[in-house]
């Protein structure tokens, strides 16, 4: 099999992720791991968002909502556990294998409701309405005094993973990386499946797909829910990494940042969103460390990407025609 440029770069990205813990040992600082964990978590969101924005031509400007719902699901179950009122009457909510799927379910359910309403609209209406719904959830969490309101909610400890503690930075990194790998694999399989073909076909020509007999709305809604669930998983991981959630997770600025990540990396590609998430976090954190007026540099940078590199960094790296 001939190795394409995409293939080469994919392997480079994968190796970079695998090398992180060794780099940390060399540098004698765990920060590299913390940062790479964050990249992996954001990459999951970016991958899920690309499924909507890149593959399905559904520009969701409220993806942070599902990220936040996932985070809150974990934090709220932990909160109830800590206060001796487990939500569903049983105490296993501190177990990741229960809490994380729960987070995905909650986020997916939110996506189902918001998607069911939003997908009735299209184009710019869709952008605005997803934004507005996310904003509505944001305000709800701000007003939710019982769960900390805008002060957010702290987790006293990370979830247990199959009964094991995952407080160690490396362990947690491997878990997040595995989650990212699974999400990538899943999204790759989904996009080439019958279901994915309908989604992508509808993005190319919605009229055609309807005329062939596909109720496009249902397929899009399903994609919306799947993407929401992935974002929810990322939110659960984020809550675990930071041991903290706040309404800020759902803010519209964060939704905007997720879009920036996806586009910066490159739409409709498997690895692009991952590259985008990494680039975004590194650039933003470098800039804001470099100058307090980081926005004056970062803003134009985002602008330039939008105007001059619509295919993103990955699009510039990879060969033409590769997928």
């Amino acid at each position: 099999m001939k190795l394409t440029r995409t293939g080469v770069f994919t392997i480079v990205v994968a190796l970079a992720f695998l090398a992180v813990p060794y780099a940390a040992t060399l540098l004698g600082s765990n920060y590299v791991i913390t940062l790479a964990t964050r990249v992996a978590i954001y990459a999951i969101v970016a991958v899920s968002l690309d499924m909507l924005v890149g593959r399905s031509n559904l520009v969701s400007f409220g993806h942070a909502a599902y990220f936040g719902l996932g985070g809150y699901a974990v934090a709220i179950s932990a909160f109830h556990l800590a206060n001796d009122v487990p939500i569903f009457g049983w105490a296993g909510t501190n177990e990741a294998l229960i809490a994380w799927p729960l987070a995905m379910f909650v986020a997916g359910f939110g996506a189902l409701i918001i998607g069911a309403l939003s997908l009735r609209t299209a184009g710019v209406y869709f952008i605005m309405i997803t934004l507005a719904f996310a904003q509505m959830l944001f305000f709800l969490f701000v007003a939710l005094k019982y769960y900390g309101g805008d002060d957010g909610l702290s987790l006293s400890t990370r979830n247990l993973f199959a009964g094991n503690r995952i407080t160690d930075a490396r362990t947690f990194y491997w878990i997040c990386l595995a989650a990212l790998a699974i999400c990538l694999l899943l999204s790759w399989r989904i996009l080439n499946s019958r279901f994915g073909m309908v989604l992508r076909g509808a993005a190319a020509s919605e009229r055609r797909m309807a005329a062939l007999g596909f109720p496009v709305y249902r397929y899009r809604l399903a994609a919306f829910v799947i993407a929401g669930m992935m974002a929810g998983l990322a939110g659960a991981l984020w809550a675990n990494q930071n041991r903290f959630v706040s309404p800020d997770m759902l803010s519209w600025v964060r939704s905007g940042e997720f879009l920036v990540m996806v586009i910066m990396g490159g739409l409709s590609s498997l690895v692009g969103p991952v590259v985008g998430a990494a680039a975004f976090l590194l650039i933003e954190s470098y800039l804001s460390g470099w100058t307090e007026h980081w926005q004056m540099v970062f803003g134009p940078f985002v602008l330039l990407v939008a105007v001059f590199a619509p295919r993103g960094l990955w699009g510039a790296l990879r060969g033409k025609g590769d997928v």
């Binding site: 600082s29 984020w238 706040s246």
Partner: protein, 388 residues
């Protein structure tokens, strides 16, 4: 690639090379809010800290210090990321700068778990003032409730019997109302909760007018507070219904931006520009000279925070791990801009609270004038739950 900015005071560099004892400077991580509408609070706190350091020639308490400053963007997650970076990469042990409670709540546990020390120049959430207090966590500003307790005490002192209370519909707003009620004791006709980003208060003001209270207490920090004062004046309520606020709703920058609308409003604070003590006069003069603007209460808190850290460093001889640092901190053997100050058992302040009034100054601009003492050596309600 070093992802950081080092605001290294030039003087520190000098003393670093010149001093006979080549002591490593103590790194102070200042994570604070510099962007978003809340950016001016962090700016002032940071500048207050940096002023104290530069006055001492790059040292605090005779110990060379090096500061790292970064904008938390008012995002708790980002703040945590910055702190993680400093802990891991730069081995920072001493942190300050956080303005907002929600950022503090997210970040402080990481700092404490890494064995670090945090001295808050502003945020004093109840989360860490009671049962969850910590020996490495100090608050140099106030316990959040103090702000509103003092306002409540002032309202009581002024003899208001029936009041309407307003605050934004989030945690700090609800805490404000709870705090106010604790010391006020009179009748509350109505509690009105406003929105997070609300900029127009005409509906609320009509409700207040209809409720006919003796006075109103409102808590809207920053821009919302400015908008509220302007609209209050415009609705003609300023001359009909007295208003009592806490310091964050009427500090120097708000007064300047609200102009005439602020005049006559009664506030409480633990510091003001016109405090008559040598430290404060020097601070106000130094701040104006260095930054060419009026200091706010946030700047004074930043300055005092630095002074307290200086006292502790002096006592411990520049060692952070030592119990001597904590002893020095708790002793607080330093004169602060706000006057008498000591740490409570939960390492939050015990201090005086004053009535502050906005009046028209000789140059036509609004100035804040200190009035009578409202609370003397006031601590907080949570200290009894704290066992250190």
């Amino acid at each position: 690639m070093r992802l950081k900015s080092i605001a290294l005071a030039g003087a520190a560099l000098l003393s670093f090379t010149a001093a006979a004892s080549a002591q490593q400077p103590i790194k102070i991580g200042i994570v604070t809010t510099l962007s978003t509408p809340g950016g001016y609070l962090g700016e002032d706190a940071r500048d207050g800290i940096l002023l104290a350091i530069s006055e001492e020639g790059g040292k605090l308490g005779g110990v060379p210090v090096q500061t790292l400053v970064e904008d938390d963007k008012l995002k708790p997650g980002d703040a945590k990321q910055i702190v993680d970076k400093w802990i891991e990469n730069d081995k920072v042990k001493l942190f300050t700068g956080i303005i907002f409670s929600n950022v503090a709540v997210a970040v402080v546990p990481s700092i404490l778990e890494s064995g670090g020390i945090f001295v808050s120049p502003n945020a004093g959430p109840s989360n860490f003032s009671g049962k969850a207090c910590n020996k490495n966590y100090y608050v140099a500003s106030w316990q959040n409730d103090n702000l509103h307790e003092s306002a409540g005490a002032l309202a009581k002192k002024l003899g208001y019997k029936k009041m309407v209370l307003l605050a934004p519909n989030y945690q700090a707003g609800k805490d404000a109302i709870t705090g106010f009620r604790r010391m006020y004791g009179g009748e509350v006709i109505e509690e009105i909760y406003t929105g997070l980003d609300q900029t127009d208060f005409s509906a609320e003001m009509a409700r207040i007018r209809a409720a006919k209270p003796d006075a109103v207490f409102q808590f809207h920090p920053g821009g919302q507070g400015i908008a509220f004062l302007k609209q209050w004046q415009q609705a003609g309520l300023k001359d009909q219904i007295p208003m009592v606020v806490a310091s964050p709703s009427l500090e120097q920058r708000i007064a300047a931006a609200a102009g005439d609308a602020a005049i006559g409003i009664a506030a409480t604070a633990h510091w003001n520009t016109d405090f008559k003590n040598a430290e404060n006069e020097a601070f106000v003069k130094g701040f104006r000279a260095k930054y060419n603007r009026e200091p706010t209460v946030y700047a004074s808190q930043g300055y005092d925070t630095a002074k307290l850290i200086g006292a502790a460093l002096k006592a411990s001889g520049g060692k952070l791990e030592d119990d001597a640092f904590r002893a020095g901190m708790m002793k607080a053997d330093v004169k602060l801009t706000r006057g008498p100050f000591k740490f409570n058992t939960n390492q939050h302040p015990i201090q005086d609270w004053y009535e502050i009034k906005a009046v028209k100054g000789s140059d036509g601009k609004v100035v804040l004038e200190t009035g009578a003492k409202v609370l003397e050596q006031h601590g907080d309600a949570y200290a009894k739950d704290c066992k250190i």
